[in-house]
């Protein structure tokens, strides 16, 4: 039984369509991330699930109970959906102490004072904030406010947790730390989480599945590994890092498993094999995506493996990044970049040959 189901959900603001016919399911205990550029409709989607925004089309269900049905104009009030939510601004109430903030959902539910004290203390312990219980809320740092916000969302044991860019107000170091902590907590409690972010690194590090959104549409849903290495479109590929895309033509196609194909492709100055998730006809033109870190320098000594794509480029520029070195290369009229070990000596103007394993090259329909 999925925890959240969206069926053909849309949201229009006047003539502007912020969310366009989205289908999505989130399983029990799963951590799903909505990822996309600013303004693509992530927050709107989350708020429609929360009930803070009404969908203009489609159906939202939580645990098989329909909570929003645009066709019947039925919308369950947000307070009746039993969802926890963490806001980007944390929305900690400044006129209350930390304890009162966290106790609020329990007070609303008319729990006894003893139970409130017990559960608030326990939840504050969970986020390591128990020593701040009596602090007035404005006297907290960003990271502490974030913990309080999470505690407040967890204290009444909601069925699902919704988080809208909860880490975006923190500095980079704290963001990673809080992210990892939250992921550990989520796994321990097994709480279903739907998480919004525009930070791809965060999305990949935290999620079971990532939903890539663009202009109100879902482009692709999959495990972080899938999305990163096997994007279904150029837009998704472009989303993570700066992949190299080579135009090429298919020479042959071989099926090696369920929905896994090996294509024999060639382009200007290169040829070899790559993987694809769909069959192709010979002569068809495609794009081959190769991530810069998967280009391997071939020295005169190293042998070229069978089927490996080989490509030669002239070094136009190099950028030293500490752990790695990025080199920009020219190959005929095309440019590409590679990330290699920083120890490897490179001079501008020299020519370098690269090899790419078939598993690291991925075909995308242009």
């Amino acid at each position: 039984m999925p925890a959240i189901t969206l069926e053909k959900v849309s949201r229009e603001f006047g003539t502007f369509i912020a969310v366009d016919n989205i289908d999505l399911t989130v399983e029990e205990g799963e951590f799903v991330t909505l990822l996309g550029h600013s303004g693509c409709g992530k927050t709107t989607t989350l708020r429609m699930i929360a009930g803070l925004e009404r969908n203009t089309g489609g159906l939202v269900s939580i645990h098989d109970q329909v909570v929003s049905d645009a066709s019947k104009n039925y919308f369950l009030a947000p307070e009746r959906r039993q969802l926890g939510m963490v806001f980007q601004s944390y929305a900690i109430w400044p006129h209350m102490t930390v304890f009162d903030n966290v106790a609020y959902p329990l007070r609303i539910r008319r729990k006894s004072a003893v139970e409130i004290k017990d559960r608030v203390t326990k939840t504050l312990k969970l986020v390591e904030m128990e020593q701040f219980a009596q602090r007035p809320a404005p006297a907290l740092s960003g990271g502490q406010q974030q913990r309080v916000a999470i505690a407040r969302a967890l204290v009444f044991e909601p069925e699902v947790l919704l988080l809208d860019e909860p880490l975006s107000n923190l500095d980079a170091r704290l963001r990673t730390q809080m992210g990892d902590e939250f992921r550990a907590l989520q796994k321990r409690l097994g709480i279903t989480s739907l998480y919004v972010t525009h930070d791809q690194a965060e999305a990949m590090a935290l999620s079971d599945r990532v939903v890539v959104m663009h202009a109100g549409h879902i482009l692709q849903v999959g495990a972080p590994d899938d999305i990163y290495h096997r994007p279904r479109s150029r837009a998704v590929a472009d989303f993570f890092g700066s992949p190299n895309l080579f135009e090429g033509a298919v020479r042959g196609c071989e099926r090696i498993g369920d929905d896994v194909f090996v294509l024999d492709v060639s382009g200007q100055g290169w040829s070899g094999r790559c993987r694809a998730d769909m069959p192709s006809q010979a002569g068809e033109s495609i794009l081959v995506m190769i991530r810069p870190e998967n280009l391997r320098v071939i020295d005169s000594g190293t042998p070229v493996k069978d089927g490996e794509i080989t490509i030669q480029g002239r070094v136009a520029d190099t950028i030293f990044r500490g752990a790695r070195r990025t080199i920009l290369l020219e190959c005929g009229t095309a440019n590409f970049n590679a990330e290699i070990s920083a120890l490897h000596p490179v001079t501008v103007g020299e020519s370098i040959a690269f090899g790419v394993e078939p598993g690291a090259a991925w075909a995308i329909r242009p």
Binding site: L52, A77, M85, F87, W93, P94, H95, R152
Partner: protein, 586 residues
């Protein structure tokens, strides 16, 4: 030519530089001289009348006459009559502030947080009564709610056939009702922005915690606004204490006295043959002490209690969808506008065309009132005085406010706190009290400085009364302009004055205009200080209508009041147009 050459020679020879350096070593830099002049001027406007109030309260004879010093004024204060006046003042102000605050919160919520149709227009309509001079609506309501011949009672009696009037404005209820019409939009202007500025996530998160809409409003929204509401409450309460028009028009006929009318009566037509200045001044000092205590309370209550609810992220506040109820909220707003603006204007319009107030028979229709007013030289004089004072007074006030605000927020000059405090002082001085202070202050000036009894007396009083608002408006405007802009300009080679002129003036002028119009409205509606300081020849419009009204000429009053209403609406319209234009061009 020769002198010029001589001076040029002096400069060449460095004599002037020498002298200049010597002056400088004593602290006589242009900046310091400017500061001293500013301090002297502000002191003359605020500290001097304040000191003269105390002097006058101890002085046995009217201003400008020889007399002795005694405590008779204060001794007279201690009477049951005065105790009742004091309790009336506090009680009436309290009684009008509570319902005004409730109404203002309701209107703010409707305008800022619901999908009520035509909210933008409604906001303009709701706030209009704030700009209408109280004396006009007071007179209109004096006619509308007159227990014998008022239109409302006539209509009520005609409909029900009863003989008892429905309402009588000459009562406590009447005073409170009239004060509410002005303080509701006043409070609204404060509160609506607080509603707008609140981060909607603070309320959303309460809903997600399981709280209903109403529960959220009670435990989150209202509590978050509590500091702002307290502030607004105290401000409105203070304004209630210093109100003059409502108790004069509706209280005096019913024998209800408050502190301001008590002062007015003591100087104008109290029982004795002589006006009792000492007594009036003593009450003024007492009311000042009261105000001072109120301000202290306000400071104590608000210390460290402002919740920063505004975050940097741009957002639109939560809008509640009211469904069919939105027409109810629409109706409530329209009703308020009709009652506070349309009814009074309607009464004035009707009244101006009939020969006698209260006898609305077609045979009584006439244009004679217009002719009488149009040919009344006193009216034209008053009109000219008001316009001249309004235009000149607002301009000078705004320049003063702009300079004081600049020095107090943008510089670290010595003396800026003193300047800021002095400019703020009139804020807690009721117009009437300041009027009396100036009365004494101008009367004992040497004859060679002819301010007493001239239009200059009003001019200076208006500047003093308007300065606190002018400073606040300009402080707000400078605060929005980042310091970087200014520093950037100076780094790029502009001198201090070029910077002031190019950057600040160019960017701050919209606020200047807004403040100017506000000050102009303030001068147009001013009655309580004017009534103390006017003399024959220097009457302003508000004084003229009051005199006509007290002489029972309600018909002519209607004509002039209608004319002033028109003036207010035109100015308000221009102001809104300017604002709108400015906002869209930003």
């Amino acid at each position: 030519m020769t002198t010029v050459n001589a001076i040029a020679g002096d400069i060449r020879e460095g004599r002037y530089e020498d002298r200049y350096r010597r002056l400088k070593s004593w602290g006589f830099t242009p900046r310091n001289i400017g500061m001293i002049l500013l301090i002297l001027f502000l002191g003359f406007l605020t500290l001097y009348p304040l000191a003269m109030l105390i002097y006058g309260s101890l002085h046995s004879t009217p201003p400008g006459m020889a007399g002795e010093f005694n405590l008779n004024g204060y001794r007279e204060l201690l009477s049951t009559h005065n105790l009742i006046a004091l309790l009336n003042t506090l009680g009436i102000s309290f009684a009008k502030t509570i319902p005004s605050l409730a109404l203002a919160v309701l209107f703010s919520w409707i305008i800022a947080r619901t999908d009520t149709p035509f909210r933008g227009q409604l906001e303009v309509l709701i706030t209009l009564p704030f700009f209408v001079p109280s004396i006009l609506t007071a007179m209109a309501w004096g006619m509308l709610g007159n227990p014998k011949v008022g239109l409302i009672n006539q209509a009520y009696m005609a409909m029900t056939g009863g003989t008892e009037p429905l309402i009588n404005v000459f009562s406590y209820g009447g005073i409170i009702w009239h004060l509410m019409q002005h303080s509701t939009p006043f409070l609204f202007l404060f509160i609506v922005d607080v509603f707008r500025a609140m981060d909607p996530a603070l309320e959303d998160s309460s809903r997600m915690c399981g709280a209903s809409r109403w529960r959220t409003f009670r435990s989150i929204t209202l509590l978050l606004m509590l500091p702002a509401l307290t502030n607004a409450f105290i401000l409105s309460f203070i304004r209630g204490i210093e109100s003059f028009e409502s108790p004069l028009f509706f209280g005096s006929p019913a024998g209800i006295t408050v502190v301001t009318t008590e002062i007015f009566n003591a100087i104008n037509y109290r029982s004795g043959p002589q006006p009792d200045y000492q007594y009036a001044t003593a009450i003024s000092v007492a009311i000042l002490v009261l105000m001072f205590l109120m301000v202290l309370v306000q400071w104590r209550m608000l210390r460290g209690r402002s919740f920063v609810t505004v975050t940097g992220k741009g957002y639109s506040p939560n809008v509640t969808k009211l469904g069919p109820w939105r027409w109810v909220t629409f109706g409530i707003c329209v009703l308020f506008f009709v009652v506070t603006v349309v009814l009074p204007i309607g009464q004035l319009a009707v009244g101006s065309f009939f020969r006698f107030f209260g006898f609305y028979d077609p045979s009584m229709l006439t244009l004679a009132n217009y002719v009488k007013v149009g040919t009344n030289p006193e009216f034209w004089r008053g009109f000219c005085n008001t316009m001249v004072l309004g235009v000149l007074g607002s301009t000078v006030t705004m320049f003063l406010g702009a300079i004081v605000a600049y020095i107090s927020v943008r510089t670290r000059w010595r003396g800026r706190t003193l300047i800021d405090t002095m400019a703020w002082l009139p804020w807690m001085m009721p117009g009437m009290v300041l009027g009396i202070g100036f009365l004494w202050a101008f009367a004992i000036l040497p004859k060679s400085i002819p301010i007493y009894g001239t239009i200059w007396a009003l001019f200076l009083a208006y500047i003093a009364l308007g300065t606190p608002i002018a400073v606040r408006v300009m402080v707000g405007s400078y605060a929005q302009l980042s310091l970087d802009l200014e520093e950037c300009s100076r780094v790029h080679g502009a001198t201090f004055f070029q910077t002031l002129w190019r950057i600040l003036i160019a960017l701050a002028w919209p606020s200047f205009v807004v403040g100017w119009v506000l000050t102009f409205f303030g001068i147009l509606r001013e009655l309580s200080a004017s009534v103390m300081l006017y003399s024959v020849g220097s009457e302003v419009l508000s004084v003229i209508v009051m005199k006509l009204w007290l002489n029972g000429l309600a018909e002519q009053v209607s004509v002039i009041a209608l004319f002033m209403m028109l003036l207010v609406i035109v100015f308000r319209w221009v102001q809104l147009r300017l604002l709108k234009h400015h906002i869209t061009t930003l």
